[in-house]
């Protein structure tokens, strides 16, 4: 698979090179690469065509099986303009890529199932740049007439809150949920609040598994999870163990050299490590810590394949606690999603792709309800009212091999509750160790462990 993909890309590279007139490479090596590229890409086209057939069939039928028949009541004939505010270029482009892929797949599936016509406009917030985000959202509201929006990252999503409340635009964030985005009109989260929600369960699990651990090292950034870094984690750790935080280091987002932090952790002799860093940084951290000869438990609050490929085999010593998305979940909608995603993009979906995929289905569900009530399904206010009236939605998370999962949005603070767990990693793949739930800071952190 991987080789095929690279082969196909090599062909694209060869085209790009010849387009720019760069015949500088020696002709002999050119021929070999082009030949092998042609070969592999031909093979891929064949396999792609084959799997696409079955997928369309499976996609069409399975969506109708889960969400009911198409037609006018399902929003056929309704066009809903949706915007996406993502990181499309630079360091975070991976996130923008998978988020837009998830949403696009959902739009295709809904259209095929005889539902609404969901039109997507994608804007780039330049890795979370706030002024860019504001400009882009204003542009999408005035030029593209968006009625719903899928936003990402913490800072830009907090910043656009007044804009979307005024327009209004019904907005969902499945990426960087932060405490500052809670309880804002027209802004809803469909991922758990980053770090804050799983922190108690994560530490309780460490305490349960390593009862002798007394000292904790904290790693984080100034972007996300600051509350956990400063309060939630130290308090919960003290309650659990009577111990204290011996190292607390914040680093800059995008750092790759963590030798200094690793040395400090080693020197302080911490018994356990909790990192609320995110993205690739976490992969660099785990690798640096293990290569410094530190063998204590290392807990994170996120898992990405990207970070795993950076850390390599050292990631098998890593644990994380989050509302993790699992491709293996037998939930029928999830299996339908995974199959269609693989067929369309030639790769497995992951956490962020699945969140943005689900968001479009939440919009669709709301459109259907507004139509049933005889309202205007493109009016953001009526869509939000429908959400508040019944905040339960089908989900690719949770469920079983016969039952589709369900998630519930909190109509007070607009957050979401999803199944969470503590995971270990085996050969780069997450394995569920313990289910956990969100608890309030006042509660005993041990109660976060689901018995």
């Amino acid at each position: 698979m991987e080789i095929n993909k690279l082969g196909k890309r090599a062909a694209a590279l060869a085209i790009a090179l010849s387009l720019t007139g760069l015949a500088a490479c020696s002709s002999s090596s050119d021929t070999t690469s082009e030949e092998s590229a042609a070969e592999t890409s031909a093979a891929e086209t064949a396999s792609e065509a084959a799997s696409e057939d079955t997928a369309t069939e499976a996609g069409g039928t399975c969506i109708n099986e889960i969400f009911g028949p198409g037609g006018e009541a399902a929003g056929e004939g309704v066009t809903l303009n949706g915007g996406m505010l993502l990181a499309m270029t630079g360091a975070g482009s991976f996130f923008g890529d998978v988020m837009s892929k998830g949403a696009q797949l959902a739009a295709d599936q809904i259209r095929e199932a005889g539902g609404m016509d969901y039109q997507i406009t994608i804007a780039d917030h330049n890795n979370g740049d706030v002024p860019t985000a504001l400009t882009e959202v204003k542009r999408m509201i005035s030029q593209d007439d968006i009625r719903v929006l899928q936003t990402s990252y913490g800072a830009p999503s907090e910043a656009i809150a007044p804009l979307i409340a005024e327009a209004p635009v019904l907005t969902l964030n499945g990426g960087g949920s932060s405490p500052g985005q809670l309880s804002k009109d027209f802004l809803w989260q469909n991922r758990m609040v980053f770090a804050e929600d799983p922190a108690a369960g994560a530490l309780a699990w460490i305490h349960q598994q390593y009862p002798d651990a007394k000292t904790l090292a904290l790693i984080g950034t100034q972007e996300n999870g600051v509350g956990v870094f400063q309060e939630t984690a130290p308090n919960a750790w003290a309650k659990l163990t009577g111990g204290e935080v011996v190292v607390a280091e914040q680093h800059n987002v995008g750092d790759t050299d963590f030798k200094g932090i690793a040395s400090k952790i080693k020197s302080a002799g911490a018994d356990a490590i909790l990192s609320v860093s995110f993205g690739d940084d976490l992969g660099y951290q785990v690798k640096a810590v293990r290569e410094a000869g530190i063998e204590v438990p290392f807990m994170g609050i996120e898992f990405t394949g990207q970070a795993a490929s950076i850390a390599g085999s050292t990631y098998d010593t890593f644990n994380f606690a989050t509302d993790f998305y699992n491709t293996e979940n037998p939930n029928p909608w999830n299996q339908c999603f995974v199959e269609a995603y693989q067929a369309k993009y030639g790769e497995d979906p992951e956490y962020y792709g699945s969140n943005y995929y689900e968001q479009v289905f939440i919009f669709w569900d709301l459109v259907k309800r507004v139509i049933a009530a005889g309202g205007d399904p493109t009016d953001p206010t009526q869509l939000q009212d429908a959400l508040i009236a019944d905040p339960n939605f089908k989900s690719v998370y949770g469920g079983s091999d016969t039952v589709v999962g369900e998630v519930t949005l909190d109509t007070n603070d607009h957050s979401i509750s999803k199944p969470m767990g503590v995971f270990s990693v085996s050969n780069g793949t997450p394995v569920l160790e313990q289910e956990i739930r969100k608890v309030s800071p006042a509660d005993d952190p041990n109660s976060a462990l689901v018995q």
């Binding site: 592999t40 030798k259 200094g260 990207q306 950076i310």
Partner: protein, 301 residues
């Protein structure tokens, strides 16, 4: 004073500093000679990494051949930038600002090209083993002695960086081609007068500089992954090293890089690690105020 921590941070600083020195000499060779603010040195860096990863997976090349292929790509892409980006602007009597803007444009656009061609994913360096399966190409061994540890890649970084830096310095000082670099750098008019072909010298320094950037890219790829944005933060370090150590001297640049790495690492003895970029830039600022020619640079005449 915690001596174990001091010793470990010193080791980390030497590793980082050696890498900075390599990047500084890479950037310095080009900058001193052409005065082009060659930000696009990030491209050969990334081309080295992607060249190795791609050739190992698609052409099934064994590790060392794939690394060599990566270096070849680094040089090829460095020269492509020179021929397609800089030379056309120079022919139109291009000002340094125009050349910098060309460089900036290439630097911004190239990661996007990488994303389009290779995708946004991080790609680890993997080679085919004897069973014909793709597996991690490089097992980064850890050597430890008591509290202190160092990895194989770190050891290689130190050795390879300084061997290459010394080789480049000797080449520039002792050979005819090398002296043409010094001649063009110190007195372009006289260099032309004695018959040195400016274009050839540019080709030489871009090839050398890109080769060194490619080596740096291979290190990052072998240790971690190749990714579209893998290069920019490192190449910026390269030009800080040049101004820090000495604009006119490669040896000064190399030692500047080493000091920079030590400073950045040892500052975390007393400060949180997210202060280390501030420490680096503050030191650069102070150096520029009190020794504008750089820490080890000769005062310009």
């Amino acid at each position: 004073m915690n001596f174990e921590l001091l010793a470990q941070l010193t080791i980390a600083g030497i590793v980082l500093g050696s890498f900075y020195a390599l990047l500084g000499v890479s950037f310095g060779l080009v900058y001193q000679t052409s005065k082009i603010f060659h930000l696009a040195n990030a491209i050969p860096f990334a081309a080295g990494g992607y060249g190795a990863v791609w050739s190992a997976e698609v052409l099934h090349l064994p590790l060392f051949v794939a690394l060599a292929f990566g270096l070849l790509m680094a040089v090829v892409f460095g020269l492509l930038i020179l021929f397609l980006g800089y030379f056309p602007v120079m022919r139109r009597n291009g000002a340094l600002l125009s050349l910098f803007l060309v460089s900036l444009g290439i630097t911004v656009a190239f990661p996007n090209l990488l994303q389009i061609v290779f995708g946004t994913e991080n790609i680890p360096l993997r080679t085919y083993n004897s069973e014909g399966e793709l597996s991690s190409a490089f097992d980064n061994r850890v050597f430890s002695s008591g509290f202190l540890t160092i990895t194989l890649i770190d050891v290689l970084k130190i050795i390879v960086s300084w061997v290459l830096i010394i080789a480049v310095v000797v080449f520039v000082k002792r050979t005819r081609s090398g002296r043409s670099i010094t001649a063009l750098r110190t007195n372009p008019t006289m260099a032309t007068a004695v018959g040195i072909d400016r274009k050839r010298v540019y080709i030489l320094v871009f090839a050398l500089g890109s080769f060194l950037a490619g080596v740096a890219g291979l290190f990052v790829t072998a240790e971690f992954v190749a990714s579209p944005v893998m290069a920019l933060q490192w190449t910026i370090v390269g030009f800080i090293a040049v101004f820090f150590g000495g604009i006119g001297s490669l040896v000064g640049t190399a030692f500047g890089g080493l000091v920079l790495g030590l400073l950045s690492s040892l500052s975390s003895l007393y400060l949180p690690v997210n202060y280390s970029p501030i420490v680096v830039f503050a030191s650069l600022f102070i150096i520029l105020l009190i020794r504008p020619q750089g820490l080890f640079g000769k005062a310009s005449v």
